[in-house]
């Protein structure tokens, strides 16, 4: 299932946040969205996930979601959004219960996603007992449990320290390599974008427009920590963004 954004524009009252966004998110690819603060990245992701409606344009699903998919568009939040009163197991079973999946069927799915995110030993732990990186892995496990067609990630690693971030990026690459998934990945961090993105979409400052779409051909599994090829991409992206970021930063002063 592909996602197509068709002329998306939006304004909060008279405050225009984005204009004319056309974008194709093909199956099996990770599309990273970068842009200066306040350019509408989170808003765009909410449009894609159907949590908010754009004033102009449409978000289209092209083709049917794959068989067995319980929740085609599935979020992973920056602040994890785990229920603190449920265990790791309970947090994952939460999203299955409404689909009538309980008992042995639920156990199969939960065991599988916990194994894939290396959390099998923590099924009975409460969120307060987990580190930030583990909490985000629980959130990823929960997202995997509903077999999403597209994962929508809003700065999923921003709340984590840089070492944990590296580890989780490796985990995401592993997951993708074993079973390619489609994702829209919003981030501030250009290193994350070039590490995980098949395409990197650069947005201009508010009102957000697409400035450039950079395609990175190197296979995910071949990309490494401080890879010189990636560094070049990262430098190019930074050149694209620098003026925008500076202008956006100056703009906030008089808003």
């Amino acid at each position: 299932m592909d996602i197509r954004l068709d002329g998306i524009g939006h304004a909060y009252d008279d405050f225009e946040v984005m204009r004319d966004i056309d974008l194709e998110i093909p199956t099996g690819q990770i599309v990273c969205i970068v842009g200066p603060s306040g350019c509408g990245k989170s808003t765009l992701l909410r449009f894609i996930g159907g949590l908010e409606q754009p004033k102009k344009g449409r978000v289209l699903q092209v083709g049917a979601p794959p068989a067995g998919c319980l929740n085609p568009l599935t979020y992973i939040f920056q602040d994890f959004a785990l229920l603190p009163w449920r265990t790791v197991w309970g947090n994952i079973s939460l999203v299955l219960e409404d689909h009538g999946i309980r008992g042995a069927a639920a156990k199969d799915i939960i065991d599988d996603v916990l194994a894939r995110t290396k959390l099998s030993d923590f099924a009975e732990a409460l969120p307060k007992q987990l580190s930030g990186g583990m909490k985000q892995r629980v959130a990823i496990a929960r997202a995997l449990a509903v077999k999403p067609a597209v994962m929508l990630m809003d700065e999923p690693l921003s709340a984590l320290d840089s070492q944990t971030r590296e580890l989780l990026m490796d985990d995401l690459v592993d997951l993708w390599t074993r079973q390619p998934f489609t994702a829209v990945y919003v981030t501030h961090n250009l290193a994350e974008a070039v590490r995980l993105g098949h395409k990197v979409v650069v947005l201009s400052r508010r009102p957000g427009q697409i400035r450039e779409v950079v395609t990175i051909d190197k296979p995910l599994a071949a990309r490494e920590f401080s890879d010189p090829d990636l560094d070049r991409y990262q430098k190019d992206l930074w050149h694209l963004m620098r003026e925008e970021a500076r202008a956006a930063d100056a703009e906030l002063i008089h808003v």
């Binding site: 996930g49 949590l51 929740n71 959004a81 939460l94 219960e97």
Partner: protein, 265 residues
């Protein structure tokens, strides 16, 4: 830097984290009672000011041995339980509705604000007309008194539930009812329980008020009778029962909190 100018950094953290220390509560009670006992015995507290704690205890024992204690306690407890259960459950339901729906919120918040400051005791005659002189008016008074603080605590607690958790529920396609049951209610539980502490104390206060009118048996009736005779020992024995009731209710809520809110940091 020379060794002589080195001194340890003075500690200035700590504090602001009260814990409950075992036995301190009991010690405070015992100390106060011992002071009263000593004062009444040695005479610097006159017998008219305060009865001797040991006499109060004797009265209490007599009450227990004559079987009158349970004759008074039984009806009181059933009034308290029925009234508070009605008031708290309606209060929690209405509070959740106010927390979830704009129209109900706009319609009921001013109404609740208008009802809250009315001393419910003043409405007792009205309840007697509506529900009769029997148990009905007593249940109604207690229920009404517990209802308002429960509503206010509940909708405040629902307002404080983390919105990102609710968005998360929606983004996974959970049904409205599942979101309410599995996200809103557990998230509001800490606030609801601390509201219940207050509501149930108010229920005990209103229990006595209700029983002062047309009840043959009940702790309130007992206290009222003792009071009109200036029988301080029996008055205090009655008050002792109420205090014990308050301590038990608070302990039960503490127990529920520890069980239900283990997930809190």
């Amino acid at each position: 830097m020379s060794e002589s100018s080195a001194k340890p950094v003075s500690f200035r953290g700590g504090g602001f984290a009260p814990r409950s220390v075992r036995w301190i509560g009991v010690t405070v009670f015992v100390a106060l009672i011992l002071i009263a006992e000593w004062g009444t015995r040695s005479g610097w507290i006159s017998a008219l000011t305060l009865p001797k704690p040991s006499d109060v205890l004797d009265t209490f024992r007599e009450l227990y041995e004559s079987g009158l204690l349970f004759k008074h306690l039984g009806p009181s407890l059933s009034r308290l339980i029925v009234g508070a259960a009605i008031g708290a459950s309606v209060g929690i339901s209405v509070g959740v509705l106010i927390g979830l729906f704009s129209y109900i919120r706009s319609g009921l918040v001013p109404l609740v604000a208008a009802i809250f400051p009315i001393p419910k005791i003043a409405l007792l005659p009205l309840f007697v007309i509506w529900f009769g002189i029997g148990e009905g008016s007593k249940y109604a008074l207690i229920a009404f008194g517990t209802f308002t603080p429960t509503v206010v605590a509940t909708y405040g607690a629902v307002d404080n539930v983390d919105r990102t958790l609710i968005r998360m529920g929606q983004s996974f396609g959970l049904s409205w009812w599942s979101i309410v049951r599995k996200i809103v209610l557990p998230g509001a539980m800490p606030g609801i329980l601390s509201g219940l502490r207050i509501s149930l104390a108010i229920a005990i206060i209103l229990l006595v008020a209700a029983e002062m009118l047309g009840a043959q048996y009940g702790i309130g009736a007992y206290i009222l009778e003792a009071g009109s005779l200036y029988d301080l020992e029996r008055l205090f024995a009655g008050v002792l029962i109420l205090s014990l009731l308050g301590v038990i209710v608070s302990a039960v809520i503490g127990l529920i909190e520890r069980r239900l809110l283990r997930w809190r940091i």
